[in-house]
Every structure is written in structure tokens, then in C-alpha cells.
């Protein structure tokens, strides 16, 4: 009787064990399989290098240098503590700090943990050599390519900087395989062409033992380097421009007026992009606090009143529509009264025809012309020159500027458009806002006899010439004779002894252009100069903008300095 009970018990015991085995192996099998892999598989990322950036003559503007990170394999705590102790002597970092970094950087048991970043090569070699003596089998020294800016601040706005991806960009880019903690471009080429520049992370998957010591290589995915980008930028020219700008706030753009290739583009104040690589928190905070906004690319992202350079559009419109002809002249007594308000000229020009008015930048002439045209026509012609919308350069965060029209004022401001508004509009003041890039594009129309180019900066990606996709020039629907006439007038601005840009006539090269002094509600007026040279066969269109520069004259001075340096360097 009792023996039979024992027999049943024995059977029951074995059935119980069988069920237990079934539970672990089959019902929970997948979970345990997963845990077992996590136990013994470690992934060591290997970084490819981000694409380099070259100028139009294949000079390096941005490349990468190698820095060394120290990583430790996760695993047995005793081993880790021992290894951290040993490493701390070599690195000269306190053990406690190392342990803290280890804890904060810990992501998952299968990923090695970075305990020291960017150590110098001497320490890296010492560490590698003492690996076997000190039993540091869990320590990995990982070469980490790091962005290097050999010219420091040069062209920083145009290039952009690198930083850890933020939430906003991550939501936008997650579909393209971007992940948290990725380093991506912020602003400039780095952001716009991040997809091409971006390296692909490769890595090793290693089998480790219970102490986290590597035992066997399971797989290797080679890292992929990003594609190199060649710009249309001329490094020499860029340096000339930035050196001459000095501490002046503003923007200088030099563009090929026929193709739209940007050859130099500078914005000031600027910043040092390597601060973001070195995580120089104080410096970065300073940049963000600075009321001069050094991170903003003034050439494309800020819009300003155009001032007198806008007169070119008014003149074109008036001539093209036949509202005035070449012999039409107005009398400039120094100021006029419109709608009970006095609008002044900067001088008394007496009788002025179109050519003279452009040469001397006579306000009264353009007040009258503006009134003849009406605000709507000026607006329409401004749009023909590509204003009020981004010029379409291949850089992010381009501003479109703004061109007002009577209807807009009625809808958004609940006010009528007065003649006074038209008058202000005609000399580039009032609600009107333009970017330096739009202005260089506008002057290029006169340089190339009537084509509106699309500015671009990337010439080739990884050796593939993409300029054919970039070059988008459109014939502007304006009579060629109109353009031709104004072109002549622009030359006069420089060559006429009383021309506003006469200071440039001393240069051994024939320049045409227009100055502008844009009044602002607070502070000194902005100074503009837009022009092109050589006059006969223009190779360069230039826009020099000095924020609160006082007047267009100072922009002319800067232009002169730049062109002189260009001649000296043999660039023309």
C-alpha cells in the first residue's frame, strides 16, 4: 500500500520536473534565449569618418583628426573595479571620477562604456602597451574620428557645426535612420548635406566570458565613411573677405554672376565651431547669450531694409513699363512734401535724369518715380528679381525677406496704403526687408544681362559633379535694353566723380555697383554696397553689407579693401 504511494510519488516528481523543463525551455524559452545572448554578446561600435569638405580648388576646409576614447567592457564588477583602478593611474583621472563616469555612461550590458574621452595619443599608447601586463582585457581604446577645423572660424556659418542631435531634428530625421545621441550637423553645409557627409557606424560583435573578457569575434561590420563635399567656395577669397571684415558686423557675399556659384560668403560676428566638438559649455552659452547673435548667418538668415540699392528695381520697373524714359528728369530741391509730410533727399541734386539719379542716388527722383509707378508695380518688379522669397541656395534657414504691397497692409495692418508708404518703398525703406544673398542675386541680373541665377555652394559630392543640377538660371521677363541701360548707370556710380561709389574708381579694375544707406529705427543706418566686376565681362558679383555701418560709403571702403587684396593675391 505505502509502496504504491511511493511509486506514485516518484512518477509525480518526474512529471513535475518535466513540466518545469517545458516551462523554462518552451514557454519562456525566447526570453531566456534573449537573456543568454545579452549575457555573452558585446557590441563595440567603430566609427567611420565624416565626409571632408573641400573648396573649389580642392583645398581642405574641414577634415577629421583621430582622438582616442577609452572604453570598458561591461561585466563582472570585481574585474571592472580592478581595471578602473589600474587605468586611473595611467590616465591620471581619479578612481572615483572614473567609477562615476562608468555609472552615468552605462547604457546596456552589451555595449562597452566610455570612461574617458579624447585622451592624448601618448596615454593611448601607454594604455595599449600595459593592457597585457595589468590584465586590462576589458579595456578598449577606440580611435574616434573628430571634426577638425584647420581654419578655426573661417566660413563657420556656411559650414555649420556638429552637435548631438536634438529632439526636433530627431523627430524629423528618425525615418532616415538617425538615432538618439547621433552627432549631426547644425546649420550650414553640415546640416543641409548631413545625409551625404554622415558616416555609417560599423562595429564588432564579440563573445565575452562571464567577466566580460573578449573570447571570440562573432561578426564585423566595417564602418562606412561619409562622402566628401566640394564647395564652390574659394578658400583664398574667403580668407581675404573675412580678414578685411575684421570685427565689423555684417555680411559679404561674392558670387559668380553667371552661374550662381558662391565664391565667398562671410558673416560677422562669427564663432568657433570646434567649441561644439570640445563641449566648451561656457563658450557655447556665451554664443547663445550674445545679443549680436554670432550663430546667425547674416548673409542668408537675416533680412534688412535695402535702402538705396532697391532703387535699381524701381528704376527698372519705371523704365520697363515706360512710365519714364531716359530723358525724363525731376527737380530735386533737397526735399519734397507728400501728404503733408516732408521727405528729404540726402543732398540737393537739382535737375536729375535717371542716369544721374542712380549715380547720385537721388531720393527725390525716386520719390517721384515711385509715385508714378505705384506700390503694386514696384512690388511686382521686386518679385521678378526673386525678392520676398528665399533665393534657393543650398543652405538651411534662408530667410525670404519681405516686399510689402497695399493689399497686405490692408489685411494685416488694417490700414490704408498711403502715398507716403509708396515714397518710402521707392527708396527701399519702410516695410521692405531683404537678405544680402537676395541683393547679390539682384545685382547679378545686371551683371549677366538679365538672368536670375540660383545661388549654390556645393559643387560636387564624392567626386560627382552636381553643379548641373544646381545651375538654375531663368531669363528675367524684362526688356534687355532696360537692363543694359541701368547697367551703364551702375558703372557711372563708380566712374562719375560725384558717384556715390567713386572711391572704387581708383582701383585698376572697372567696377559697377550701387551703394545704399538704410535707415533703421534705432542706431546707425546699415551700409550696403552691391556691385560686379570687371564691368565688361563680370566674373564677380559682390554684396557688402555692414550692420549699423553708418552709410554705404563704409561698405564701399570695405569693398575696395577686399578687391585690392584680391588683385594682390592674383585672384582677378
Amino acid at each position: 500500500m505505502r509502496i504504491r504511494f511511493i511509486n506514485f510519488t516518484a512518477i509525480f516528481i518526474f512529471v513535475f520536473l518535466g513540466l518545469g523543463l517545458f516551462n523554462l525551455g518552451v514557454i519562456q524559452g525566447r526570453r531566456f534565449k534573449d537573456l543568454s545572448n545579452k549575457n555573452c554578446i558585446r557590441l563595440i561600435p567603430q566609427m567611420g569618418t565624416r565626409g571632408k569638405i573641400f573648396d573649389r580648388n580642392n583645398n581642405i576646409i574641414v577634415d577629421n583628426s583621430l582622438s582616442y576614447d577609452v572604453m570598458i567592457m561591461s561585466g563582472d564588477e570585481v574585474r571592472i573595479n580592478k581595471e578602473l583602478d589600474n587605468v586611473s593611474d595611467i590616465l591620471g583621472i581619479d578612481q572615483k571620477d572614473l567609477k562615476d563616469t562608468y555609472k552615468t555612461n552605462f547604457i546596456a550590458p552589451f555595449a562597452p562604456i566610455a570612461i574617458a574621452k579624447n585622451i592624448n595619443i601618448k596615454k593611448a599608447i601607454t594604455l595599449e602597451e600595459s593592457k597585457s601586463d595589468l590584465e586590462l582585457s576589458g579595456i578598449i581604446i577606440q580611435p574616434q574620428p573628430q571634426r577638425r577645423y584647420p581654419y578655426a572660424r573661417l566660413a563657420c556659418h556656411l559650414l555649420g557645426y556638429l552637435n548631438e542631435i536634438d529632439h526636433w531634428r530627431l523627430t524629423k530625421l528618425a525615418d532616415y535612420g538617425y538615432e538618439k545621441k547621433d552627432i549631426v550637423g547644425f546649420g550650414g553645409i553640415e546640416e543641409k548635406y548631413d545625409y551625404y557627409l554622415r558616416q555609417e557606424q560599423g562595429g564588432l560583435s564579440l563573445e565575452v566570458d562571464h567577466r566580460g573578457r573578449p573570447m571570440r569575434l562573432l561578426g564585423f561590420k566595417p564602418p562606412k565613411s561619409g562622402e566628401d563635399i566640394q564647395l564652390t567656395l574659394d578658400l583664398k577669397l574667403q580668407r581675404i573677405v573675412e580678414d578685411n571684415m575684421g570685427s565689423r558686423k555684417g555680411s559679404v557675399i561674392i558670387m559668380d554672376p553667371n552661374s550662381g556659384e558662391i565664391m565667398a560668403m562671410a558673416s560677422s560676428p562669427n564663432f568657433n565651431p570646434s567649441a561644439f566638438i570640445n563641449k566648451d559649455a561656457d563658450y557655447i552659452a556665451g554664443l547663445l547669450r550674445n545679443s549680436d547673435a554670432p550663430l546667425i548667418n547674416r548673409s542668408i538668415s537675416s533680412a534688412y531694409p535695402a535702402g538705396s540699392i532697391f532703387k535699381l528695381i524701381v528704376a527698372t520697373a519705371a523704365l520697363d513699363t515706360g512710365k519714364i524714359n531716359l530723358s525724363t528728369s525731376f527737380y530735386c530741391p533737397g526735399s519734397i512734401h507728400i501728404g503733408g509730410q516732408e521727405f528729404s533727399c540726402w543732398d540737393t541734386h537739382n535737375q536729375q535724369n535717371l542716369k544721374g539719379a542712380i549715380t547720385h542716388s537721388c531720393n527725390v527722383f525716386f520719390y517721384r518715380t515711385g509715385l508714378l509707378l505705384g506700390a503694386q508695380l514696384i512690388h511686382d518688379y521686386a518679385l521678378k528679381f526673386g525678392l520676398s522669397k528665399p533665393a534657393g541656395i543650398d543652405l538651411p534657414y534662408e530667410s525670404g525677406g519681405f516686399i510689402p504691397q497695399p493689399l497686405w497692409k490692408r489685411i494685416y495692418k488694417f490700414q490704408n496704403w498711403y502715398e507716403g508708404d509708396t515714397v518710402n518703398f521707392a527708396i527701399g525703406q519702410g516695410y521692405l526687408l531683404v537678405t544680402p544673398l537676395q541683393m547679390v542675386r539682384m545685382i547679378a541680373v545686371f551683371a549677366n544681362n538679365g538672368s536670375l541665377v540660383t545661388p549654390y555652394i556645393v559643387k560636387a559630392i564624392d567626386g560627382r559633379d552636381i553643379s548641373i543640377y544646381q545651375k538654375k538660371t531663368a531669363r528675367i521677363p524684362i526688356k534687355e535694353s532696360t537692363i543694359g541701360y541701368i547697367r551703364e548707370a551702375l558703372r557711372n556710380v563708380v566712374s562719375d566723380p560725384n558717384g556715390t561709389a567713386n572711391i572704387l574708381s581708383s582701383l585698376p579694375i572697372s567696377i559697377a555697383g550701387k551703394t545704399g544707406t538704410a535707415q533703421v529705427s534705432r542706431g546707425q543706418p546699415h551700409g550696403w554696397f552691391i556691385g560686379f566686376f570687371p564691368f565688361k565681362n563680370p566674373k564677380f558679383a559682390i554684396c557688402v553689407f555692414i550692420e549699423h555701418g553708418g552709410s554705404g560709403y563704409f561698405s564701399c571702403v570695405l569693398t575696395k579693401q577686399i578687391i585690392e587684396a584680391m588683385i594682390k593675391e592674383g585672384l582677378i
Binding site: I13, L24, G25, R31, K33, S36
Partner: protein, 367 residues
């Protein structure tokens, strides 16, 4: 008439071979020299055990009756010897060094206690052919044997070797049960035992307390005492249906699983051979134990029957507790899996026990 000799020996050799394969695999890849010889040693023990099997098969078990008291005295002597000059290993003093072999007397003591209890409960009265035990009062049926058992048990707990002590305790209870002692007494005894558990708790070493707490919830200490259980479950679970293949178990080969060749050899076997393999192994153990129970059922001799049952139950309880603790269903108490785990004492004693079992199966026809 069937001969149990061949069946028992074949199953025994089969399980022992699986054990050697598992030990080879779990010590494989371990770079240092001493590891490499482990499976060879085990092979030696198994061969030695297989040689001892026919010796005990041909040794009439009735003669064990005659030397019971001598054996009991030997058990006490060996345990005292361990207490005095045993080797301390892993924080416990369980081994006696005999020339080049570390002997673990607790393994032998288990068998001796079975023999002792079998004899004690198979005493017959002169006027009655039935076993006396049925009529035993509380003192002779419970207290006296308990005193006999508690002396070696106390010495084993002192070593400390909780696993062996628990096995002896189980043997004691089951021997009481199968010998026909009144159920009332057993129930009383168990009640007293349960009530005195808090007192035992005080006696337990810290690491033993910890193990029991960890058994109740392994996650309270995943890197300490709970580590083994978690790794063992991962090993068994990750084996899946067909296992990772021989020499390919990551848990044991990369040493995530501690004691992978001794107490947790089952987990390293299950990792590499999967559910199918471990079911086959468990079934082999069942067949072995069923042989023992069959022999016990057919034996007319009371001493022989109790002895056969005792041996079968000892195997059964050891297999159960060991596999259950591998599965995380029992606390980790440091107990070998008979015939599988590395360890000479265990292998030899198990083969001797099986030899005695086979002998009982043969001898019953004599009567």
C-alpha cells in the same frame, strides 16, 4: 524472471556517460590546465564505479545486516575525522584527504543510514512473522531512530553541508513511512519539525539563510546568491527545444554559470541538448528509480525491501532536489546530481548503491 543487473548497469553507464560529456563540455575552452583533467578524472571514477558494481552485485546484501553497527560506527568516526582534520574548501569542511583523493564522507553516510534504518525497522519478533515496526510505540518507532540519525546529521550540518543533511532527513521520513511506522507518529514528528523551524533558522549559517531567502525571490540579489539560479534558468531556458549543441553552450562555456560541472551540470547539459535531451535524461533517471521500486515490490525479505526502497528514494530525492534547484524550483543547497555531477565520492557511492540494489533483485529468488 528478469535480470535487473543488466538494466541497472546500462542505465547507470548511460547517465554517467552523459555526465562525462557534459563535464567535458562545461570545462572545455577553459584555458588553464587543471580544468582539462576534470573530465578525465570523472571518467576514471566512473570506470572505477563500474568495476565496483559487479563486486557489490555479488556481495550478499544480508551480510550488510551483520555489519550494520560497524558501518554506523564507521560513519560517526569518519564524520568526526572530517570535523577534526577535514579540508576546508568553498568555506565548508566536507572532505577527507585519502592519499590523492578527497573523499566526502557525507555521501557514504547517506548509504550507511539507509542500511542502518533498514535493519532497525526490519527486526522481527520471534512469535510473529510481521515486521515489528508496525507495532512500535512512539519511543521505539520515532524517538530512538531519530536519535541515531540525528547524531550523523548534526555532524553533517556542522560541516556545513545542508544538502546532505536534507537528504538524510528525507531518507529518515520516507524510511519511517515505508517501514510501516504509525502515520500518527510521522505526522507528530513533522509537526514538531515545522514548529521548531524558527529555531533551526537561528542555527543556519548566514549563507544558508541567504540561499533560502534568495530561493524565495532570486532577484533580491542578482549578482550574489541569486546569480547562480538566474544563470542556471537562463542556461536551461535558452537551450530551447533542441539545445545549442554539444560544446556550444554559451552559459557554461563562457562561465556565466557557476558550478557548471558539479551541482549545475544539469543546466549545462540542458543548455546544449535542449528540452528533448533533458527529457530523455530525466526519463533515464525515472527508469533507474523504477527498477529500484520494482525490486522492492518483488522482494519478500523486509530488510531487502527497505534497503531497496531506501536506495531508490535516496536517488529519487537527490535527482529531484538537484534538478529542481537547477530549474529554480528549489533552494540552492549544494547537492550533486547522482552519476552526472563531478565528484568521485558521489559516483562511487551511487554505483555501490546500484550494485546493492541489483544484488537485492538477484537474491530474492534465493528465499
Amino acid at each position: 524472471m528478469r535480470n535487473h543487473y543488466l538494466e541497472i548497469l546500462l542505465i547507470g553507464i548511460l547517465i554517467a556517460s552523459i555526465g562525462i560529456l557534459s563535464i567535458y563540455s562545461s570545462t572545455y575552452q577553459k584555458e588553464t590546465k587543471p580544468w582539462q583533467i576534470i573530465y578525465k578524472r570523472q571518467l576514471l571514477w566512473v570506470i572505477f564505479g563500474i568495476m565496483l558494481f559487479p563486486v557489490f552485485y555479488n556481495f550478499n546484501y544480508r551480510r550488510l545486516w551483520d555489519i550494520t553497527y560497524f558501518l554506523y560506527a564507521l560513519a560517526i568516526f569518519l564524520l568526526c575525522l572530517v570535523y577534526i582534520l577535514g579540508i576546508v574548501r568553498l568555506g565548508a569542511q566536507r572532505w577527507l584527504k585519502i592519499v590523492w583523493f578527497n573523499f566526502q564522507p557525507a555521501e557514504l553516510v547517506k548509504l550507511i543510514i539507509i542500511i542502518f534504518l533498514a535493519r532497525y525497522f526490519s527486526l522481527k519478533s520471534v512469535d510473529d512473522i510481521s515486521v515489528k515496526a508496525v507495532k512500535f510505540g512512539i519511543s521505539r518507532g520515532l524517538i530512538l531512530p531519530f536519535i541515531f540519525v540525528s547524531i550523523p546529521m548534526g555532524l553533517i550540518i556542522e560541516q556545513p553541508d545542508l544538502g546532505s543533511a536534507i537528504i538524510i532527513f528525507f531518507i529518515f521520513i520516507t524510511m519511517l513511512y515505508i517501514s510501516g511506522v504509525k502515520l500518527k507518529y510521522i505526522v507528530i514528528f513533522l509537526l514538531i519539525f515545522v514548529l521548531s523551524l524558527p529555531v533551526f533558522w537561528q542555527i543556519l549559517r548566514d549563507y544558508q539563510k541567504e540561499r533560502i531567502l534568495v530561493f524565495l525571490n532570486p532577484n533580491i540579489d542578482p549578482l550574489g546568491a541569486g546569480y547562480t539560479v538566474i544563470q542556471s534558468k537562463i542556461a536551461i531556458g535558452s537551450g530551447g527545444l533542441f539545445g545549442k549543441g554539444w560544446l556550444s553552450g554559451t552559459q557554461s562555456q563562457l562561465r556565466f554559470l557557476p558550478e557548471s560541472h558539479t551541482d549545475f551540470v544539469f543546466a549545462s547539459f540542458a543548455e546544449e541538448w535542449g528540452l528533448v535531451g533533458s527529457m530523455v535524461l530525466v526519463f533515464l533517471y525515472y527508469l533507474l528509480i523504477r527498477q529500484g521500486i520494482k525490486i522492492a515490490l518483488k522482494t519478500q525479505d523486509h530488510f531487502g525491501r527497505l534497503l531497496a526502497l531506501g536506495i531508490s528514494l535516496m536517488l529519487c530525492v537527490q535527482v529531484f532536489i538537484n534538478i529542481a534547484m537547477n530549474l529554480g524550483l528549489a533552494p540552492v543547497v549544494g547537492l550533486p546530481l547522482p552519476l552526472m555531477s563531478y565528484g568521485g565520492s558521489s559516483v562511487l557511492i551511487t554505483f555501490i548503491s546500484l550494485g546493492i540494489l541489483a544484488n537485492i533483485g538477484k537474491t530474492r529468488t534465493v528465499f
